[in-house]
């Protein structure tokens, strides 16, 4: 069997399993007498899109927070890792601090950000950023450090310049680490934005969830969760695409 049809079968299987879960969900809800406000059916969840909840606007706001925070975190994480790699004293001084900062449960900073920045999209981007910045920094920093000492000796006998070692060995070697950090960070970025919206916000899907909770519109809450998940999936897909562009056929696992 050739590779393409193998791949195709894999994707068909994935879709079937997802569909299966939806069908089981539907059967379970319709065949038991669980009330709608506890567990809406897939159909009811979908129908909630018809309500005047400003779905488009709220989705847009949450997406901006997630993508914004994530994008800033990638820029800052990769940038700082590169600075640390080139200026070792900076690394010695500040890396332990970064590891300590990583231990702070970032969602606990949410109320502080709101005190400092008032509420809105800005602070939510910041919460999303703060929660996924460190995993990206730490994995990238580790990846840059991970080159085999014997290999470095080998290229040093050839009088390789610092720049050559960086571009030919360290940087490409760090990419699998970076992408594994970036994948972890996707879920964190989404969680950060939603937590921000829970704490204080007047728009976004997290805000919407709190609104419809009051009226027990569980179907709309389900729908919000699905859209939030979809935002994460789209971001994850973009990361996979980037990974494919940068690493291609080479092994991705560390």
């Amino acid at each position: 069997m050739n590779d393409i049809s193998k791949q195709a079968r894999r994707y068909v299987l994935i879709i079937l399993i997802h569909l299966g879960v939806v069908i089981i969900w539907h059967l379970w809800v319709t065949m038991s007498n669980i009330p709608d406000y506890v567990m809406p059916s897939p159909g009811a969840t979908l129908l909630s899109l018809g309500e005047e909840y400003g779905w488009l606007h709220n989705t847009y706001i949450t997406a901006v927070e997630v993508f914004g925070g994530y994008f800033l975190a990638v820029i800052a994480g990769v940038g700082l890792a590169l600075i640390f790699n080139w200026f070792k004293t900076m690394e010695t001084m500040f890396m332990p601090l970064m590891v300590s900062l990583n231990m702070i449960p970032k969602v606990a900073l949410g109320p502080l950000f709101i005190v400092w920045l008032s509420y809105g999209v800005g602070p939510n981007i910041l919460i999303s950023f703060s929660i996924c910045f460190l995993p990206i920094l730490l994995t990238m920093e580790r990846g840059l450090r991970e080159s085999d000492p014997d290999l470095l000796d080998l290229v040093r006998t050839l009088r390789a310049s610092r720049w050559q070692i960086f571009t030919k060995i360290q940087l490409p070697g760090s990419l699998p680490y970076l992408f594994s950090g970036m994948k972890v960070a996707v879920v964190l970025a989404v969680a950060g934005a939603i937590v921000g919206e829970f704490i204080a916000s007047q728009e976004g899907l997290g805000y919407l969830m709190l609104q419809v909770q009051v009226t027990l519109d569980t179907a709309a809450m389900f729908m919000a969760v699905l859209i939030i998940t979809a935002i994460g999936v789209v971001l994850y897909g973009l990361v996979l695409l980037l990974e494919y562009l940068f690493i291609g056929q080479a092994p991705k696992e560390i």
């Binding site: 085999d148 014997d150 290999l151 000796d153 080998l154 290229v155 040093r156 006998t157 050839l158 009088r159 390789a160 050559q164 030919k168 060995i169 490409p172 070697g173 990419l175 690493i247 056929q249 080479a250 092994p251």
Partner: protein
């Protein structure tokens, strides 16, 4: 007689770790002629790698003289060393051909010539047709062949090999030994071959340098007067056995003991 290509005398190496000083190599003296394949054998931790790294200019040394090259045969330390380690150390995001080209890129050698030479070398090490494979698609032996081709790409005069076949299974290892002898003959390089296998040392070397433990000292430096090209059945010859037994005795072992020399004891 021509001047030797490598000359070491009374080389000492001290590693400073925290407040301790550790004498790793002491009184190492030997000469290697251009085009020779010399084996260096000794227990693990006795300082074999350290000696190679001193020759490669990676480690400094505290006493004695190290000279590589002669008037007739000048040596440029940045261009004339090829190294092969126990691990292939290939870049896993580069295909075989691009891995072989790495030293040429670093040295800034002309692209076209390097490419031709890489193809030639891959053919020589038996990897024709594998240029576009990634390292993880190759067996351990094939990865090590790639590393050998990479060590030869910039046409260095000296090849330093540090237990290059130590991680391979016995069968592959014997095959690689034969391959190495062929490559050596074809490329006319000077090769220093570090191993802790006595059979391997005798089979490959025109000479075997024996090091003993703590700190590395020269125990012997014997010529192996077996003709080239060498074949595996020579290993059963009386002559071969005599050399091997001699080396086993030097390293304090019975001839019927294991082929692999034990580790240095830490006293």
């Amino acid at each position: 007689m021509s001047e030797s290509f490598i000359h070491l005398s009374d080389v000492r190496k001290i590693f400073k770790t925290r407040n301790e000083e550790f004498l790793a190599v002491s009184e190492v003296t030997f000469d290697v002629k251009a085009g020779e394949l010399v084996s260096i054998v000794g227990p693990s931790g006795c300082g074999k790698t350290t000696i190679l790294k001193i020759l490669a200019g990676i480690h400094s040394y505290e006493g004695g003289t190290v000279r590589i090259g002669s008037e007739a045969n000048p040596f440029d330390p940045s261009k004339d060393i090829g190294m092969v380690f126990q691990q292939p150390l290939l870049l896993k995001w580069r295909k075989v051909l691009q891995n072989v080209l790495l030293p040429a890129e670093i040295l800034g050698l002309p692209r076209k010539e390097s490419l031709d030479r890489a193809h030639y070398l891959l053919k020589m090490v038996g990897l024709q047709g594998f240029e576009d494979k990634y390292p993880h698609e190759l067996s351990g032996g094939m990865q090590q062949r790639t590393a050998i081709a990479r060590a030869l790409i910039h046409d260095p005069k000296l090849i330093l090999m540090d237990e290059p076949f130590g991680a391979l299974d016995a069968l592959t290892r014997e095959k690689m030994n034969l391959e190495l002898l062929r490559i050596w003959k074809e490329s006319q390089k000077t090769i220093l071959f570090v191993t802790h296998g006595i059979q391997e040392a005798v089979f490959l070397g025109s000479r075997v340098i024996v090091l003993t433990c703590g700190p590395a000292r020269m125990a012997d430096n014997i010529a192996i007067d077996l003709p080239y090209p060498r074949t595996l059945d020579m290993m059963t010859h009386e002559e071969f056995g005599k050399y091997a037994r001699h080396l086993y005795k030097h390293l304090g072992m019975d001839a019927d003991g294991s082929d692999i020399v034990e580790e240095c004891r830490i006293d």
